[in-house]
């Protein structure tokens, strides 16, 4: 009973005060703003302005033709609104034949991008967690294994692309091993798998590393308790390791997802430009910019940007990726949660109390 009294007391007190927006603010917001202003200015210069300019570029279209008498190009730039965004999904810009069938080039690149993201991330997560589980074990030569697993991650992507090109050559190691002549470097389903294999090889260690960091924060007594209770290794993995390592794993997977969505150098270096089976959105934007169609190139980039924003947002919302992991922010959020819970509890206790009496 005394508890309930305390709560009502608290709430009545709070009603008197003006609710503060930031519970932990110490009134130094202005100072903070001044201190981070230089950084904000630089970010605005090198990120803000280019982003805004690309958006503007994407709503203008340059059309023109060759003067039939002089051969000189005469072109005009007009406001196009969202036309270039809409055109990307129609056949007006031409279609291409790829393993997905005959599609508008943008759609084909979009499907490739999503396909690579889903497949690569799935393999990388499983392999990365396995690597982390191995690396976290105490055994002789642990340091060596950790270093060896990280080597692929340390090699620049374009270098590993050229390395894998040798592996996937018609007379390369890959074909030697499977004893067949597959044209990995042509333009086919096999090229897609060549990219996936090389990408998984390169970036599974990244997920492994971040997961390892998460694994090392799990206290050993949890496992000891589980062992005493007779849990199997499998149960310990599913019920203890995975839930406790989830925050770290989700962040790793989020970073990899955003990275894979804008994949460029691996397919470009390994398979080549303008190969529709592996053309991603950033490759398509690059290709259009090369052809001096800056408007559509900007439109494609903006759409890729939006796609990444949406996926990052979904990640944070659905999987609760905790990117900042700042103790202060955490404390703030927890305080808010407690407050909410207290209010709820109070309400229910009042109503239940009323009904009881």
């Amino acid at each position: 009973m005394s508890n309930a009294v305390d709560v009502t007391h608290d709430v009545s007190k709070e009603k008197e005060r003006k609710p503060k927006k930031n519970l932990l603010s110490d009134g130094q917001g202005t100072l903070a703003l001044i201190l981070i202003a230089p950084t904000l200015f630089v970010i605005f210069l090198v990120v803000g302005i280019p982003v805004v300019m690309s958006v503007i570029e994407s709503i203008y279209i340059t059309t023109g033709g060759v003067n039939p008498d002089t051969g000189v190009v005469e072109s005009v730039t007009n406001f196009a609104g969202l036309q270039q965004y809409a055109d990307a999904f129609t056949e007006s810009a031409g279609t291409v034949l790829s393993p997905w069938g005959r599609l508008p080039r943008f759609l084909n690149a979009l499907i490739n991008t999503l396909f690579f993201t889903v497949v690569c991330i799935a393999f990388e997560t499983v392999l990365g967690v396995l690597m982390a589980l191995i690396m976290t074990k105490a055994f002789k030569g642990k340091g060596l294994v950790r270093a060896a697993i990280l080597i692929p991650w340390a090699i620049p992507t374009i270098v590993s692309a050229l390395m894998w090109q040798l592996v996937f050559n018609t007379s390369g190691v890959a074909n030697e091993i499977i004893g067949q002549q597959i044209l990995w470097l042509a333009d086919s389903v096999w090229s897609q798998w060549a990219v996936i294999i090389a990408d998984v090889w390169k970036t599974a260690p990244f997920i492994g590393l971040l997961t390892l960091a998460g694994l090392q924060t799990i206290p050993t007594d949890v496992y000891e308790a589980a062992k005493v209770d007779g849990a199997t290794a499998w149960q310990m993995f599913w019920r203890i390791t995975l839930p406790l390592v989830r925050p770290a794993l989700v962040v790793a997977v989020l970073f990899r997802t955003l990275d894979t969505l804008r994949m460029f150098d691996l397919p470009f270096g390994l398979i080549g430009p303008q190969k529709y089976s592996v053309e991603t959105l950033s490759m398509l934007a690059f290709s259009d910019a090369q052809a001096q169609r800056y408007g559509s190139a900007a439109a494609y980039s903006v759409m890729l940007f939006l796609l990444i924003v949406v996926i990052a947002f979904l990640f944070i919302r659905l999987l609760g990726a905790d990117l900042v992991s700042d103790p202060e922010v955490k404390a703030m959020n927890e305080a808010r949660k407690k407050q909410k819970a207290a209010r709820k509890q109070m309400k229910s206790s009042i109503t239940s109390g009323e009904s009881a009496t």
Binding site: T30, L33, G48, V52, I56, G71, V76, A186, Q292
Partner: protein, 433 residues
């Protein structure tokens, strides 16, 4: 929090406004043509070309600078990737000459794009006489009947063939037609230990080389890839017989399946390791395949001939680089004299000796010293004499990609050759109008 948000919002709106104004300003300032060009003004200039792997360029420029110290030429060396060279040159043009480029080494396929967009200016024919230069090379620097780029180096394809194997098989003359090529291969395959040798090699990876190879098949079958007035003609019966020849050769193994991933170097390696009877490639292979340091298994065992065709010798695709002058160049007098000096018979000969790049002066092909060093010269000259240029299109990148799409789909068997080349014809009609 809110202060920051508001500040950001204001800033973004401000920049957006500024940017709109800037784009509007850009739209209206298209420069006009440069009719009253003054071809006498002298002064320092910058010469731009891709990576000079031969080491010829800088010493030659030093020589010029010694001769004309008041008209200094600076060498701006770009990447060895053609795409990056083109991008740098376009960047210079679209920023009103911010990089200060004056004389450009222009790939033959960029002529139309650079001339059409007025990145390079017309070279008055009376001041740039082209007599004595190879006609196809001069033609490759010409756009709408005006000379835009002066022929500097040329390139044509030749057929490399294994003299030792043909001799053993009892064939005295190199084949002139596709049927003779197949017959020669059949005879070679019957030789002991040669049952698995591949017959024909070329560049069939999806890149610019594929455009060159398919154009050769079509033109050598009596088709005309691009007609004299610049219209595509890629799905006529004659053209299709060339396309079908290429596809058939892939189907029956005359061209190994692996060739779908070959560029110049992969095909050269296949030939050098003795896996090919015939190879279509550029002249640079000759010296490399003749090396006796063990890198080539065929040194001294091959010779060159003109490409074969359907009913007689075939038609090569023309390559090479020409020299153009940017529209932002000021010291046109120096640019003119430099280009003429660079391409004098004496200097072209010196260039060829060092870099083994083919000259554009016709007379040099019978120069004794050159023929002695490069025995393929007479063959190359014959090849260049009837070489065909690739399409002259301002949007050449789109044109060549459409051609590569069609050809690659045909040789990969994704669709019937007729269907993809009908589509290509439609696409090219749109692009080349």
């Amino acid at each position: 929090m809110t202060v920051r948000k508001n500040a950001r919002r204001i800033a973004v709106t401000g920049v957006a406004l500024l940017a709109v104004l800037a784009t509007a300003a850009c739209g209206g300032s298209d420069s006009g043509s440069s009719d009253g060009a003054d071809w006498t003004q002298t002064g320092p200039i910058t010469y731009v070309q891709g990576k000079d792997t031969s080491g010829y360029v800088q010493p030659a420029i030093d020589e010029w600078n010694k001769l004309y110290p008041d008209q200094k030429v600076t060498f701006a060396e770009l990447s060895d990737s053609a795409d990056e060279q083109r991008a740098a040159m376009i960047e210079n043009a679209t920023t009103n000459g911010a990089k200060g480029y004056d004389v450009l080494s222009v790939d033959v396929v960029w002529t139309a794009e650079f001339a059409g967009n007025q990145y390079i200016q017309e070279l008055p024919k009376d001041q740039f006489p082209t007599d004595g230069y190879l006609k196809p090379a001069v033609d490759s620097g010409t756009y709408f009947d005006k000379l835009y780029a002066f022929p500097a180096t040329s390139d044509g394809a030749m057929m490399y063939y294994r003299t030792d194997l043909l001799e053993q098989a009892g064939i005295a003359e190199p084949p002139k037609t596709w049927d003779e090529v197949v017959a020669a291969c059949d005879a070679v395959k019957k030789l002991p230990g040669q049952a698995s040798i591949n017959c024909w090699g070329g560049q069939f990876q999806k890149y610019e080389g594929l455009t060159c190879n398919i154009a050769e098949f079509i033109n050598s079958a009596g088709g005309t890839f691009i007609t004299a007035d610049g219209k595509p003609d890629v799905n006529s019966d004659a053209a299709m017989s060339g396309v079908n020849q290429m596809v058939d050769w892939f189907d029956d193994g005359t061209i190994p399946k692996a060739a779908q991933t070959w560029q110049e170097e992969e095909s050269r390696n296949a030939f050098q390791s003795g896996n090919l009877v015939f190879l279509r490639n550029w002249p640079y292979v000759y010296t490399l395949a003749n090396k006796d340091d063990g890198s080539s298994e065929v040194n001294g065992k091959f010779a060159v001939a003109q490409l074969p065709g359907k009913d007689g010798v075939g038609v090569s695709t023309l390559g090479g680089h020409n020299m153009g002058v940017t529209t932002t160049a000021k010291n046109l007098g120096t640019a003119k004299e430099f280009i003429k000096w660079w391409n004098s018979a004496e200097n072209q000969k010196a260039h060829t000796i060092v870099s083994s790049q083919a000259p554009t002066i016709e007379g040099l092909y019978s120069d004794e010293e050159l023929v002695k060093q490069f025995p393929y010269m007479p063959v190359l000259r014959a090849s260049l004499a009837n070489a065909e240029p690739r399409p002259k299109a301002v949007e050449y990148g789109d044109v060549t990609l459409a051609i590569q799409d069609a050809t690659y789909n045909a040789i990969q068997g994704n669709s019937t050759p007729k269907a993809v080349f009908d589509r290509l014809q439609t696409d090219l009609e749109g692009l080349l109008k």
